[in-house]
């Protein structure tokens, strides 16, 4: 049962990282245009090099 003492903090820590990433994504506006992003990935404009 001692292992719980390590595993629970570890799982909480990983969960918090996920939560932090989610906040970061919302702040960056990655959910502002879900429909557009779904289509953008299909176009060929920046296949060869990224947009400057």
């Amino acid at each position: 049962m001692d292992v719980l003492g390590i595993l629970i903090p570890v799982s909480l820590f990983l969960g918090l990282i996920g939560l932090g990433i989610f906040f970061w994504m919302v702040k960056r506006g990655q959910f502002d245009d879900p429909e557009g992003d779904a289509h953008r990935i299909l176009r060929e404009d920046y296949d060869d090099k990224p947009k400057e």
């Binding site: 049962m1 909480l12 918090l16 996920g18 906040f23 919302v26 502002d32 557009g36």
Partner: protein
């Protein structure tokens, strides 16, 4: 900021962005497909008009949006705030649930206490942070001496956390941390859905408002023109109104002759003559010649804005509508409190143990907490309004669907609602061949809507224009030309020398021959006849109220199949008719677009207006048709009925869960496991049921 209503695919995104980036002066352009908008960053010299022209040339419909009207920061921030709280509560719920599994599966002694303590460490801060919207709302309700849904919610959360903490300190068996945080999470999900529906409707409504960038051409004393915002105009200024433009202010014509389309203001379908000395009102459309207008009232003082008073009076009558959710809350909140207090008092008297009594009270509050109730309405409205949005109907008000489902009487406006406001010529076959060809030639020389409709009708019928020379347009009167040495005229009755009939018509005169009348009829809006038939088939009473002349309205009503007709109605009379119908026990659905309909739209039980309507009419109505067709109205009634049924079903489901679980809780048999199961499964059933909305 540009609005791009036509874009729908990856190709459109590339096309629009490339076209914009290729325009000199544009620094950055990004399309948002979800909102159908493009944000452009450009040098100061680039105007929105240049960009819309670039896009039109590339084959995309584009309109300028006024970014000032679109400032949605407040609603946006609220939405993000709710989302953050939802994310935190979801994270906390999952972790606490995981720890609870260990307890449910039989952890004992030290392990159980440790699990409880860790749960408490996660749940308490999470509950404090996530539940804030509920605490604030409950507190303001209590301060006002009322009970709302948030009062039992807050009480349940606080009591559950409090007793659980106490139990944990004394190594008790039952802790409800998982239930408290799950409650928060489900309720926040309901709140968030609710907020999103309203925010998306609001932003689309704002977009419609932002489409009309109010500008006017002001004439300076030295005769130069400058484009100014309508807000900057003051009485005494002189403005120029180009043909085809909307008059921005109330005023008096000082120079120029033209015809005015007052359809949006009064419902008249026949254009009226305007010359020097004539008073004009904001919202009228100038048709043929340029007009110079001296401003008598601008901005908030115009007739357009005075209608707002009428609207405010009419709206007061509607505010006492109680939504299904409110009705449920009114029964629910006191019932829950009485039940849990009764359970606590009963157990205290029975066992003389305060700890058990409080535990029971917390269990009752958690079980009865309106988790499913909180989701019941928003889940359905979100599903239904998403469905209707795809069909081109925008719902501006949360309770509009419920009210629409109750409607049994439908009142239509004529001009601009059932008709497109444009006319089409009739009985063209009766015209002599020569006359038709001359009329076509003359009609092509004018931008007047009647002339354009006539030209379209005649060329559609296969006529070729006659060789008419010396075409001149006489603003306010008509078109004149020479054909085979004779003077030919097409225009108003008075100018031609004919008797004006009661219907919309234009007149043709060949030399000295007797004038020929070319009658017009209103063009039906797409889907209008189908909607009227569908509504009648659903057993609704359909009425037509119009400000237009009686013969025109009667003829139109006969054509579309409406029996009850009120013609020549003033704006106040329209509102009175609607109010009288409501007093007689009818639930009125009003469909209208004009300024003269605004008061009636606000007075009706529920109202719809087309996107082409004036801003004032759109803001007075509960739903806005985004497209050209009226067809979504019939769909909307069906969807509203089905969603109203789902809401009731959801309430029933939630109540059944409560009835099953409450005896357990009161009897003290409700373990945290049962509470978690009942709560999750009822919320899930309710959400799934909401998706069945047709």
């Amino acid at each position: 900021m540009l609005s791009l209503p036509g874009i729908h695919c990856a190709g459109c995104i590339s096309g629009v962005e490339k076209a914009l980036m290729a325009t000199p002066g544009v620094k950055d352009a990004r399309v948002n497909l979800t909102l159908r908008r493009a944000a452009v960053e450009a040098d100061a010299g680039v105007t929105a008009e240049d960009l819309t022209q670039v896009l039109e040339a590339a084959g995309y419909e584009a309109h300028e949006l006024d970014p000032g009207v679109l400032a949605t920061t407040d609603a946006d921030r609220q939405g993000k705030d709710l989302m953050m709280r939802l994310a935190v509560s979801f994270f906390a719920m999952m972790n606490v649930m995981l720890l609870s599994v260990a307890v449910w599966s039989g952890a004992e002694g030290f392990t159980r206490d440790m699990m409880h303590w860790i749960s408490a460490a996660i749940a308490i801060p999470a509950v404090i942070f996530c539940g804030r919207p509920f605490y604030v709302s409950a507190w303001s309700a209590l301060k006002g001496g009322r009970l709302n849904m948030d009062v039992p919610i807050t009480l349940a959360i606080l009591l559950a956390v409090g007793t659980s903490l106490y139990e944990t300190m004394h190594s008790g068996e039952h802790a409800y941390f998982d239930a408290a945080i799950a409650l928060c999470c489900f309720l926040l999900a309901g709140r968030y859905l609710d907020h999103r529906t309203r925010a998306s409707a609001r932003s689309a409504a704002q977009e419609l408002a932002a489409l009309e960038v109010p500008r006017a051409l002001r004439l300076a004393a030295d005769g130069t023109e400058e484009t100014v915002s309508v807000a900057d105009l003051a009485p005494g200024d002189i403005v120029r109104v180009k043909p085809g433009g909307r008059i921005p202010v109330d005023g008096i014509v000082t120079d120029g002759q033209s015809e005015l389309d007052r359809g949006l203001m009064t419902g008249e379908s026949l254009p009226v003559y305007a010359g020097p000395g004539q008073a004009v009102a904001a919202g009228e459309v100038n048709l043929t010649g340029p007009l110079t207008v001296e401003v008598t009232a601008a901005g908030r003082d115009t007739a357009l804005h005075r209608i707002a008073d009428l609207v405010a009076v009419a709206e007061a009558g509607r505010n006492n509508y109680t939504s299904l959710a409110d009705q449920a809350a009114k029964l629910y909140a006191p019932g829950v409190h009485i039940l849990s207090v009764a359970a606590a008092v009963g157990w205290y008297l029975y066992t003389q143990d305060l700890r058990i009594a409080l535990n029971i009270a917390a269990a009752v509050l958690i079980i009865t907490c309106p988790c499913a109730l909180g989701l019941a309405v928003p889940a359905v409205t979100t599903a239904a309004s998403g469905k209707l949005f795809r069909k081109g109907l925008l719902i501006k008000d949360g309770t509009a669907l419920e009210r629409l489902a109750e409607a049994d009487t439908v009142v239509f406006d004529k001009t601009g609602t059932l008709t497109t406001g444009a006319a089409e010529p009739v009985a063209l076959d009766a015209l002599p061949d020569d006359a038709a060809r001359v009329a076509l030639a003359l009609a092509q020389g004018s931008a007047h809507p009647l002339a354009e409709a006539l030209a379209k009708g005649l060329s559609g019928a296969g006529y070729r224009p006659a060789n008419v020379t010396d075409l001149t347009e006489v603003p306010g009167y008509g078109v004149e030309g020479a054909w085979k040495g004779r003077t030919v005229r097409l225009g108003r009755a008075a100018w031609i020398g004919a008797d004006a009939p009661a219907t919309t018509a234009t007149f043709l005169k060949l030399g000295e021959d007797a004038p020929i009348t070319i009658p017009f009829t209103d063009t039906l809006r797409e889907g209008a006849a189908d909607v009227v038939n569908a509504l009648k088939a659903q057993g609704k009473r359909v009425l037509l109220i119009s400000g237009d002349t009686a013969p025109a309205v009667n003829r139109f009503a006969a054509r579309i199949g409406i029996e009850e007709v009120f013609a020549e109605a003033l704006p106040a009379e329209k509102a009175q008719t609607v109010a009288a119908l409501s007093e007689a026990g009818g639930k009125v659905l009003m469909v209208g677009d004009g300024l003269n309909d605004t008061a009636a739209l606000a007075a009706a039980h529920v109202s719809i207006s087309p996107a082409s309507a004036l801003d004032a009419a759109r803001s007075a109505s509960d739903m806005v048709l985004m497209g050209r067709s009226l067809a979504p109205i019939a769909d909307a009634v069906t969807t509203a009925k089905s969603s109203s049924r789902r809401i009731r079903e959801n309430f029933t489901i939630a109540t059944v869960y409560n009835i099953l679980a409450v005896p357990l809780a009161v009897a003290g048999l409700c373990s945290p496991l049962i509470a978690a199961l009942a709560m999750s499964s009822s919320s899930l059933t309710v959400s799934l049921n909401a998706l069945r909305v047709k």
